[in-house]
Symmetry: C2
Subunit: 121 residues, 2 copies
Amino acid sequence: MCPPAMTLSTPVPLADHRACPVTDVLHRVGDRWSVIVIVLLGEKPFRFNELNRSIEGISQRMLTRTLRGLEHEGLVSRNVFPTNPPGVEYTLTALGESLLEPLSALTRWALEHHEELAAKP
Amino acid sequence: MCPPAMTLSTPVPLADHRACPVTDVLHRVGDRWSVIVIVLLGEKPFRFNELNRSIEGISQRMLTRTLRGLEHEGLVSRNVFPTNPPGVEYTLTALGESLLEPLSALTRWALEHHEELAAKP
DNA sequence: CGGGATCCTGGATGATACTG
DNA sequence: CAGTATCATCCAGGATCCCG
């Protein structure tokens, strides 16, 4: 790696994911929840429990971890409103929104071809 | 999920990955090696050990498993030549090649923005 | 409401050695 | 050359309880 800017085949050290931007990004976003959160936040801002309810199957713990991770990477921003009771709103950063587009390319492919993918379980 | 074909926010059951094509695809391809293999095979056919040498850090075991997985999903095809010594060549299927395009969208994003991603380790 | 802390499990991955 | 087999390890993820 890494394609297509770098010449492939000509070996490039990639001991860990960070050596390759593509693999790196996939590892940050390729987990079970990140993409779902990003796409949801691409629609509108969400509150914590609002997200928790919208994403079936996610645990509080993983939602917290996912949001913290995305926030830490600069894809999501966390805005606290000192109301009563306190409210926390999550939105995409500009960087996060820019990811929406390439993600939708994958989304389209998935919707168009997922039936062709053989051997589910 | 699942965007954008389905209305987001309006909860859709996604107990496991298979409930959402996008998440499903990300889970099949979002592992540590699959994308690398796919992109490499997008360039030209590869032999087993050729791949093994081209992908730094991969173990024989994981290369085997990754190839088997991709083959099983119909993204990669395995062609055996009963020569001496026997040779095995891996190529992308049509489906596999079709994945190359959306993948390159992510690739471009990664190359353009990976520096903006904060907090490596 | 919006989390944090703790314990635990399975699956993904690696190292090493062996084989047709 | 192209794998298989075995054992060990690591970490995402779930369950549960607690807190301001």
